[in-house]
Structure formats: structure tokens, C-alpha cells
């Protein structure tokens, strides 16, 4: 049986949660790595491991536990991320109000956000790579439309360092595609625009219903935000043989908001 690790899957209205659910339906063993232990009870079919992805030792232990239990790793999906609610201390915090750019960014915020969005992906890929290489497999990372177009001044709920870290995820994806391709491991990422996750709901509570973290919602050509189901289905497709000849690719999923 194939084994998948999904980071950031415990919050019930997250993209990662739906990815985990769908990978189970694909017949895989699923390991969930998350700080949000309260969400573990809704994922009884998964092996849920408390893990701080911004801490390389914690990620190493998580991967060791997964391999100890299931002897292999075929799929790694890195869903953890965000500009808030990403540390042990502020896991359930609301998004801080106001525009958070780069020019007004504290060093502490920069380090925290880059750690959760970029360092975390490096740690988990590095830890899982030796196991993925044994039989081949797939890594899917989650970048963002923010990496394509930045965060417009005046918007709320996201941040400048997030845009930079997500661009880093795209670069990391390409680098690992070159390194792991010869071992039969594909590495791709998705770059979501505005998706109707629990995170978006929290942002709309402070911004009003017509402004997402990347700007006004009415500018989306498809006239709606994306669903968690659509985003999760795309991520899962990138884990399967339907995309067997894709690697190093960033697939934009944004309702035609930004065509790269």
C-alpha cells in the first residue's frame, strides 16, 4: 500500500484536510503532520503526528515515525503555510489587521513566516527524499498566487514575506525536480488564488466579504473563489499517474486571475 504524508491537514476546513481525505480514498495510508492536535480526532484513519514543520528536528522525528510504522513513503504533500496561525503560540489566532508588507516587516515576522512557508518545505522534502527515492513517488508543494503577483498594498490577511517564501517554494520545486527526477520522484506545486478554506473565512471576517488577501474578489474573471474540493482534487491529480510526465511545474489555480 502506498504511503502519503500530508503536512498541515488537521484543521477541518483546510485544503490539506481534504487532500488527506482524498488520498485515503485513493487507497493510500495517510500520515498527517500538524501542530493542531485538536483536529486529529476527525482523522482517525490517518496516522496523526504532532509536528512543528518549522523545526527540522520535529520534522525528522515525524518522518522517522511514519517510516517506522509503514516502511515507505510514496507521496509528500506540503500544505502547511500562511501568514498567521502558524506557530505553537498563535495556532488559533485571528489574522492581524492591517497591511503587512515587506518594507514595514519586523525581523521576527520575516523569520516566522519564512520558516513556516519555506524552511518547512525544505525540511520535509529533505527528510522524506531518501525514502521517496527508493521506489519513486511524488511531492506536491503549495505555493500561492502571491508568489506570482505580490500582495497589493492595502490588502489584509496575507503578507510580504509570505509572497517571497512562496516564490521560494516554486524555486525549491524546480531544484528538487532536477535532483529527484532521475530517481523517479516528481516534484510539482500548485499556486492557488483565493480558495474558500477556513483561512479565507477568517480573513473575510476582518476585511468584509468583497476583499480577499490578494485584493478585491470582484476582479476574479471566473466571478467566484475556488473551492477546497477543486484545489484538493488538483493536488491529488499531481500525486497520481495522470501527471506522470510533469515535474518542476507550478500549476496556477486562480480562476483566470493571473496567467503566468
Amino acid at each position: 500500500m502506498k504511503v502519503a504524508i500530508v503536512t498541515g491537514a488537521a484543521k477541518p476546513d483546510s485544503i490539506g484536510h481534504e487532500v488527506a481525505r482524498r488520498l485515503l480514498k485513493e487507497g493510500m495510508q495517510v500520515v498527517v503532520a500538524d501542530l493542531y492536535e485538536e483536529g486529529f480526532s476527525a482523522l482517525r484513519q490517518c496516522l496523526c503526528i504532532r509536528c512543528d514543520v518549522a523545526d527540522s528536528a520535529s520534522v525528522g522525528e515525524m518522518v522517522d515515525k511514519a517510516v517506522e510504522q509503514f516502511q515507505r513513503i510514496d507521496v509528500l504533500v506540503n500544505c502547511v503555510g500562511g501568514s498567521w496561525g502558524i506557530t505553537r503560540q498563535d495556532l488559533l489566532a485571528s489574522p492581524p489587521p492591517g497591511f503587512r508588507g515587506l518594507a514595514n516587516c519586523s525581523l521576527e515576522d520575516w523569520r516566522t513566516i519564512v520558516a513556516a512557508n519555506l524552511d518547512a518545505v525544505f525540511y520535509s522534502c529533505r527528510a522524506a527524499a531518501p525514502h521517496l527515492k527508493k521506489q519513486g513517488g511524488a511531492i506536491v508543494n503549495v505555493a500561492s498566487i502571491a508568489a506570482r503577483k505580490g500582495i497589493p498594498p492595502g490588502s489584509e490577511g496575507s503578507s510580504g514575506p509570505y509572497a517571497v517564501a512562496k516564490a521560494g517554494v516554486m524555486g525549491l520545486t524546480r531544484q528538487l525536480a532536477l535532483e529527484l527526477g532521475p530517481h523517479g520522484v516528481r516534484v510539482n506545486c500548485v499556486a492557488p488564488g483565493v480558495i474558500a478554506s477556513g483561512r479565507l473565512k477568517r480573513v473575510l471576517e476582518i476585511t468584509g466579504q468583497d476583499h480577499g488577501p490578494e485584493g478585491p474578489l470582484k476582479t476574479i474573471p471566473m466571478g467566484r473563489v475556488g473551492t477546497v474540493d477543486e484545489c484538493a482534487a488538483l493536488i491529488v491529480a499531481l500525486c497520481t499517474d495522470d501527471t506522470a510526465y510533469m515535474t518542476g511545474v507550478t500549476v496556477d489555480i486562480n480562476g483566470a486571475s493571473y496567467a503566468a
Binding site: 480514498k25 480558495i195 476574479i220 474573471p221 471566473m222 477543486e230 510526465y245 483566470a256
Partner: protein, 247 residues
């Protein structure tokens, strides 16, 4: 698990007589989709049409009926005519050797066909408030073409502009428009052209260390038509084994 959102839908696949197009037809049929397959080259199960001719496209629309998924796979580097419908794939042509007839024929076969078919079918999709359009770009438009020439790269580059524009224009009508940019895909005609064996060092240099297959492309078409493609629009998806990563 089968892909969600495909069973019971109807698709039109152009360039369906051979290679990538015919694999797409087979794949979509396996997903429970009713497929209308068209080509300028006669073959079993093919509705004949010259898609560079607006009258032929209009006639095709009459026989095809309501379409949920439009896959514009017609095209290629060769000069196709009604007399020679499946000519051998030519080698690289240098800029100064691309004559106007070759330029026009390749632009017509790759870009005008997609334009005419989209223009014919998009209003019908708009009326039904649903549609998925998948166009075919190429690695030639992404990194440049050293195997064919400027005419083919320009035609496929045009597809990317057409795709992005239609994504903006048709998005409000719940129609997604995307392009696939295949890399080196081993089809029987490519092998006939002598590219299959001449490129061992090149294949080794690809991160996935193999040529692509028509099925590799058909899988991505199915993905874009499924639930997974519901919010993907305006994108050009590189399917090339890591040869080129896109912008």
C-alpha cells in the same frame, strides 16, 4: 479513484486521427465521456473536417451538438493539405528557409484552427453556462524551437495568447480555458521522422529520463476536464519531463 466530473459529459477532440489526439479520445471514452472525434485525415470513427475552413467548422458544430469539453489537439509542425492529410514530420527549418507558404500553412493548422473552433463552440458553452477548453501549445513556444522552426514556435505562442485572452473573456460564463505545452512526446509519426532513436543523450538529460507518451498528455487533459480543473483557467501546463519549467 476515477476523476470526478467526467462521466456522462460530451467532448469534441480535434486532430483525433493519430498520435496525441487519438490517445485523448481513448482516455476520455474510458472516463465515460461521449466523444466526437474530428480530423482532416480520414480514419475509423473520425468526423472529417478541415478546421482551417470556417464553413467546415460550422458544419462540424451541426453534427457535434452540445459539447462540454473542447480539446483542440489539431496541429503540428507539418504542412497539412486536403490532399496530403498526414504528411511526414519535417526536420528543422532555418529562418531564411521558411517560405511564406509554409509559414501560413503552419499558422493556419495550429492557430487558425483553434481560433475558429473556439469561436464556433464558445457561444454554445456560454449558453449552457459550462465549458472546459483545452488548447495545445508546445515546448516550442515555451523555450523556443530548435527542432522545427520559427513558424511552429510562433503558431504555438499564439495559442498561449489566445488561451489567456479567452480565459478572461469566458471566465464569467463558467468556462475554463487552458493550454497544455507538451515536450518531447514519442508518437509513431515522431518515430518515423527519426527523432525516436537519434536522441538518447537528450532523453538522458531530461530529469525524468524518458520521452513522453501520448497517454501522458491524455492524463493531463482528463485532469483539466475534471473537478481538478474547475478553478484552473488561463494556465499553460508544461508536460515535458522537466525539460523546461515555464515562466
Amino acid at each position: 479513484m476515477p476523476l470526478e466530473g467526467l462521466k456522462g459529459r460530451r467532448a469534441l477532440v480535434t486532430g483525433a486521427a493519430s498520435g496525441i489526439g487519438s490517445s485523448i479520445v481513448e482516455r476520455l471514452k474510458r472516463e465515460g465521456i461521449a466523444v466526437v472525434a474530428t480530423d482532416i485525415h480520414p480514419a475509423k470513427g473520425i468526423t472529417l473536417a478541415d478546421l482551417t475552413d470556417a464553413d467546415d467548422v460550422e458544419k462540424l458544430a451541426g453534427t457535434a451538438g452540445a459539447i462540454d469539453f473542447l480539446v483542440n489537439a489539431a496541429g503540428g509542425p507539418a504542412v497539412v493539405t486536403r490532399k496530403e492529410t498526414l504528411p511526414p514530420i519535417p526536420g528543422a527549418i532555418a529562418l531564411e528557409d521558411v517560405d511564406e507558404q509554409t509559414w501560413s500553412a503552419v499558422i493556419a493548422a495550429n492557430l487558425t484552427t483553434a481560433f475558429l473552433v473556439c469561436r464556433e463552440f464558445a457561444p454554445r458553452m456560454k449558453a449552457r453556462k459550462f465549458g472546459r477548453i483545452v488548447n495545445f501549445a508546445s515546448i516550442a513556444a515555451r523555450r523556443g524551437s530548435d527542432r522545427v522552426g520559427v513558424h511552429y514556435a510562433a503558431a504555438k505562442g499564439g495559442i498561449i495568447g489566445l488561451t489567456k485572452t479567452l480565459a478572461l473573456e469566458l471566465g464569467p460564463h463558467n468556462i475554463t480555458v487552458n493550454a497544455i505545452a507538451p515536450g518531447f512526446i514519442k508518437t509513431p509519426r515522431i518515430e518515423q521522422a527519426g527523432w525516436g532513436s537519434a536522441s538518447a543523450a537528450f532523453i538522458e538529460s531530461l530529469p525524468l529520463q524518458r520521452a513522453g507518451t501520448p497517454d501522458d498528455i491524455a492524463g493531463v487533459v482528463a485532469m483539466l476536464c475534471s473537478e481538478a480543473g474547475g478553478y484552473v483557467s488561463g494556465a499553460t501546463i508544461d508536460v515535458n519531463g522537466g525539460w523546461y519549467f515555464g515562466p
